[in-house]
């Protein structure tokens, strides 16, 4: 009894912070989502936000964009990250530490700074990307002002920033695979590509699953890039759950609706993560 009291004593500072800055906001935002918060005094009215959500074309579009991003960007980035990790792990590679740092470096750059640079790079008239394409004789699109290319810029930007980070996670997994397995395979005359397919990939799955869950949650929260690079345009073509939540909560001061959008995104993250984890568990 006394021992547990001491333990709780030590835990208290953390628990107090957790209660004030995590638990309370989580509960309070559920309450908000059930209230009409448009007037001076919030009124209990669950349908005001949850009812609006189902029929709100802007929310449904934002959800669609977020899901499209998840389906297109996350697998592509993870495939790139695995390839990169294998390359970085190759025994023949020189200046290994330099390369590892170089690919990890984008994550060190501030989100706002890199977003601003991408907006400049992809400027249709003056941007470096179109100038480079023009030098190759290709007329580049007006990146930020066409729906598809604006979406592509977001995919490119996020991939640039996070591939190295995921590659480092995968690299840690690669280094955890016992060398004896490859030696045994060599002895049995298994070709390299089959070694990758039958040994490397299956043993990497748990690590890739972690990277995938982190990336999926990241895409569901996607905010800085669409807010700063494409301004959720053109014509809402890159509106995401994150930008719509911000718009509703902090521009329109409609905290209740913003909370409902936030919870919708959180539920989606939960469902996708659970599906993912159970999928990987049954495979391994």
């Amino acid at each position: 009894m006394r021992r547990s009291a001491v333990a709780y004593g030590f835990l208290f500072p953390y628990l107090a912070v957790f209660a004030a800055f995590w638990a309370w906001p989580i509960v309070q935002s559920i309450v908000y989502s059930l209230q009409n918060t448009r007037g001076a005094v919030p009124v209990f009215s669950p349908s005001a936000n949850w009812g609006r959500l189902a029929g709100d074309p802007v929310f449904l579009r934002a959800l669609g964009h977020t899901l499209a991003f998840l389906v297109l960007q996350v697998p592509a980035m993870l495939a790139l990250a695995i390839g990169l990790a294998v390359a970085l792990n190759a025994p023949a590679l020189r200046a290994r530490a330099l390369f590892r740092f170089a690919f990890f470096a984008p994550i060190v750059v501030g989100e706002v700074a890199y977003s601003t640079v991408f907006r400049l790079l992809f400027n249709g008239q003056y941007g470096a990307v179109n100038k480079a394409l023009a030098a190759l004789g290709i007329a580049g699109p007006d990146w930020l002002n066409e729906p598809v290319s604006a979406f592509a810029v977001l995919v490119i930007a996020v991939t640039w920033r996070w591939t190295g980070y995921n590659a480092i996670i995968v690299l840690a997994g690669l280094q955890g695979i016992p060398r004896e397995l490859y030696e045994a395979a060599e002895v049995d005359g298994v070709p390299r590509w089959l070694q990758f397919w039958r040994i490397t990939l299956p043993l990497l799955l748990p690590v890739v699953a972690v990277a995938a869950v982190l990336s999926i949650i990241g895409s569901l929260q996607l905010f800085v890039e669409p807010q700063l690079i494409t301004r959720s345009g053109p014509g809402g073509a890159t509106e995401t759950l994150g930008t719509y939540l911000y718009q509703q909560g902090f521009r329109a001061f409609n905290f209740g609706y913003a909370a409902a959008i936030g919870y919708a995104a959180a539920m989606l993250a939960l469902v996708v993560s659970l599906a993912q984890v159970s999928l990987f568990r049954s495979r391994t």
Binding site: A40, R52, Q125, N145, G236, Q247, A252
Partner: protein
Amino acid sequence: MRSLRLTAALLAGMTAPALAADKPSGTITVWGWNIAAEALEHIVPAFNAEHPGVTVKVVNMGHSDLHDRVAADCAAGGTDMPDVTIVENQEAGLLWNRFPACFADMKPLGYDAYANKFPAFKQLDLQADGKVFAMPWDSGPVTVFYRRDLYKQAGIDPQAIATWDDFIAAGKKLSAATGGKVKMATIYKGTDDEWFRMLAVQNGCYYFSDDGRSITVARPGCAKALAKVKDVWDAGILNVGGWDEQIQFDKTGAAASQLYGGWYEGTIRSNDADQSGRWGVYPMPAFEAGGRRASNIGGSSLAIAATANKPAAWAFVSYALGTDAGQISMMKYRGLVPALLSAVDDPYVKQDQPFWGGQKVWADMLETLPRIVPYNATPYFTDARGVMKVVVNDYLDGRYKTADEALRVAADQIAGASGLPVAP
């Protein structure tokens, strides 16, 4: 109710001299953004000559920062609010609706003496439930800023541009003369709907009715405005970009003119100082010959917090915005267009401006103020703009057959977001 208001007015009238007798004193904090904060800082010495007992501390912060901090402070019951804060007109209704207890009613402080000194269109957003929550500051009379040299090269006479169709014809001439490299203006296509709003207000139409109780965006005046924006867009005479790009277009000469609020004067003058003498302004084109050539976009006001040192805050606000001296000084210093009607008679307004090729640009812009049709941004401005930036973009891209059809879709979406009915 009426008699009650009368009594209140009488009481206010009786206490006013008493208030004037004890000089306001103490320290007040004033929040502003960018050039607006710099302008307020600039007039503090002159204000102190009249009110030596008041110490004014101006805090300059970013537009979004200020918006978020006011929201957070008001949500926390007015804690940490400054005595005076800038409020953008189009965001004003949202604040009064959401946080009415956070701001002081200016009527008991003596606002009635100022009510006639500002145009009606600047005051509509600043009042709610019979209270006045802010005093108008600057306005955004819409005008065309143009490059004299580029127009001349293309053989365009700005004085001959009377209607939007003339504007389109001039744009085609410009395209022909420059191989399509130089455009007539910039549109924030897909990120904002300002072109639509400028032309709608010109046409006496807006998102909402003046009483703020219904959605009027599907009315014919707005449909006509939207269709005209498409005519201009389809002529291929507009650059696409945002604020930063627009400034680049001015610098590089990719735009020969810009359609914007009067406050854009300071932006051109400070960013393109090397182009002095090459710029000028002309009134926005009309829908038909002899039609209205006045509209408004943007503009701000000053509000006093409920928790403020009210006598000192009121003394500062009424000096800064309610006197010619305050308003003219801020216009000279940072190009903020005074909403105060009497400012138009100030000698400075009538002076030739060397940067603008010797044109009396202030007189030209300010004289349009009385003709601007009032409109009410309401608490739902942000929702409506969010819908409209998409609908306007889709209409310009040909995804709706008619402007009327596009605006009906928009009206339904704004109704879904705001809960307001669509006006018949």
